[in-house]
């Protein structure tokens, strides 16, 4: 709780400052930030529990968006039903990835780099598959364009508001889940010290599986939210997962609550950055931030001291 309060405090004043200066950019930043926060949480959850950087949330992001598209637009199903179905598919896919790729590698004691590479492979395979099935033309949910609301001279649409609210609500749910439920506590225990957790009777494999599913759901919801606003195309997950990774590291890679801070920070800085630079540099801005943090503060804003910083 303390960490969370710290984070919220920090964010609040930062936001106030920026909001006063550039409202539309700020709003855009919050919108992007909400997505990055979800992806960062997704990424952090996995890193926390199995200690490797997994890019598959990026693929799940895309799978979810396209699944919802198929159900809602192609089959004409009700939106919420499409959402549920898409999330079920995403869960199944992540279970498959774990069973056929990650678990065998973990059993062979593969190091972090191999797992990172494997997750790249998974990402490329899945997005390639999506490209194969759906083709290269962008798809869209074709929602009618509604006039947005005006706040302090900036425009924000209903969908975007839903996006931000959903992100925050999910995040809160995640925090509550981690703090209060047995499974959540098991996840945290496992993240802290696997040997001890296992000795205390926590079912390791089951907890890991659940973590991956929750992570997948977060990425999946992010995917659908984005798809409502923007076009769908097979490579849409790449930049988003890398920014989720960046946000994770900026917040503090061991620290899931801090992923929220990281996400919104990246979103805002990115959008403020394109005030000065051409908008195509958005990705580069995020990665410059990533590299700066890796060099000067690898533990992120709120993380615990990483192995980088502990003197040998």
């Amino acid at each position: 709780m303390e960490n969370l309060l710290q984070s919220v405090n920090f964010l609040f004043f930062l936001f106030l400052l920026i909001a006063m200066v550039a409202t539309q950019l700020f709003i855009n930043g919050i919108i992007a930030g909400a997505i990055y926060a979800l992806m960062a949480s997704s990424f952090s959850l996995i890193y926390n529990i199995v200690k490797f950087m997994d890019l598959s949330p990026g693929a799940l992001f895309v799978v979810s968006a396209f699944s919802a598209y198929v159900f809602n637009v192609l089959f004409g199903l009700n939106f919420f039903l499409s959402l549920i179905l898409a999330l079920i598919i995403v869960s199944v896919v992540t279970i498959g990835i774990n069973k056929f790729v990650y678990k065998p590698l973990r059993n062979k004691n593969a190091n972090n780099f191999i797992l990172l590479l494997a997750s790249f492979g998974v990402f490329l395979f899945i997005t390639g598959f999506i490209l194969l099935i759906f083709g290269a033309e962008v798809k869209t949910f074709g929602l009618p364009i509604i006039k947005g609301y005006e706040i302090f001279g900036a425009i924000i649409t209903k969908t975007q508001i839903i996006l931000i609210v959903t992100s925050l609500v999910l995040f809160l749910f995640l925090q509550l889940f981690m703090k209060t439920t047995r499974l959540g506590k098991a996840m945290r225990a496992l993240a802290d010290d696997r040997q001890v957790a296992s000795a205390l009777g926590i079912k390791v494999e089951k907890t890991i599986a659940v973590t991956f599913i929750i992570s997948a759901l977060l990425a999946g919801i992010a995917g659908i939210l984005v798809a409502l606003e923007q076009n769908l195309e097979h490579a849409m997950g790449f930049s988003v997962v890398l920014k989720g990774l960046t946000a994770s590291i900026v917040g503090g890679i061991g620290n899931v609550p801090a992923a929220l801070v990281g996400g919104f920070l990246i979103g805002i800085i990115e959008n403020i950055g394109i005030w000065f630079l051409p908008s195509g540099y958005k990705d580069a801005i995020a990665f410059v931030i990533l590299i700066l943090f890796l060099l000067f503060r690898p533990r992120g804003l709120f993380g615990t001291k990483t192995r980088e910083e502990v003197s040998g």
């Binding site: 490797f52 593969a110 990172l116 494997a118 490329l124 390639g128 990665f287 410059v288 980088e308």
Partner: protein, 294 residues
Amino acid sequence: MALEAYVIHLLILVGIYIILAISLNLAMGFTGLLNIGHVAFYGIGAYTSALLALNLGVPFWLGLLVGGLIAALFGLLLAIPTLKLKGDYFAIATLGFAVIIENIFRNWISLTGGPLGLPGIPKPSLFGFTFSGFSYLILVAFFVFLTYIIIKHITDAPFGRVLKAIREDELATSSLGKNIVKYKTQSLGISAFFAGIAGSLYAHYITFIDPSSFTILESILIISMIIVGGLASMKGAVAGAIILVLLPEPLRFLPLPSFAIGALRQMIYAALLVILLIKRPQGIFGEFSLKKES
């Protein structure tokens, strides 16, 4: 006729990728540097050489050399801040570097032409003779040969031995009086140099370059080549490049739209990488695979 041209085209690509694979192998396989951003050096070499030729009329031979040197310079620049990062953190930093470079290719429109790229890159010429088709293949083969013997010489030499030691155990290596940072930096710089050369060869062959040839996916492809062939194996890098360039070619003959062929290519490469990592991480000729850090 068309068949002959096609085969030559493939072999030229194989040659370029052999250079890329061997150069990455020096940094990754021999020195243990987990560089996911190798493609950035490839692109820097390509753009440098192309721009010099297009804007300043610099002849290919000089452009190639400068392309390699500029790429090497970026290698050194990348090395200095990032070498203190460990394992996967270093990998992520190199990934970030490659994305930033690709962004620059895509957005510095006045210099690089942005997404539209640089067309009309002149082919190399020597005393009035223009290299094209089969003669270009000979040119590429020459550089492949040069790259191979230079890097083999480096890795067989005491210098190479230090690189391998660094890969095995950095701590022990530094306690024997070796300046780890210096060796890693040089390894990365040399690796980048040859990648830059490959880039230049690519640019003056296709005569058109754009940012889409220099994405992270290319890096993953090159990494796959050395994993297939076996890390730290010169023969392996060659074998890996040949296999991975040729493997998806049969797809070209299927009656499918181009995006589908591209998609299948991507899926084949990805699947091969994952399967290899699980089943045979040491590749064909490798003696070892990346192990858990001690």
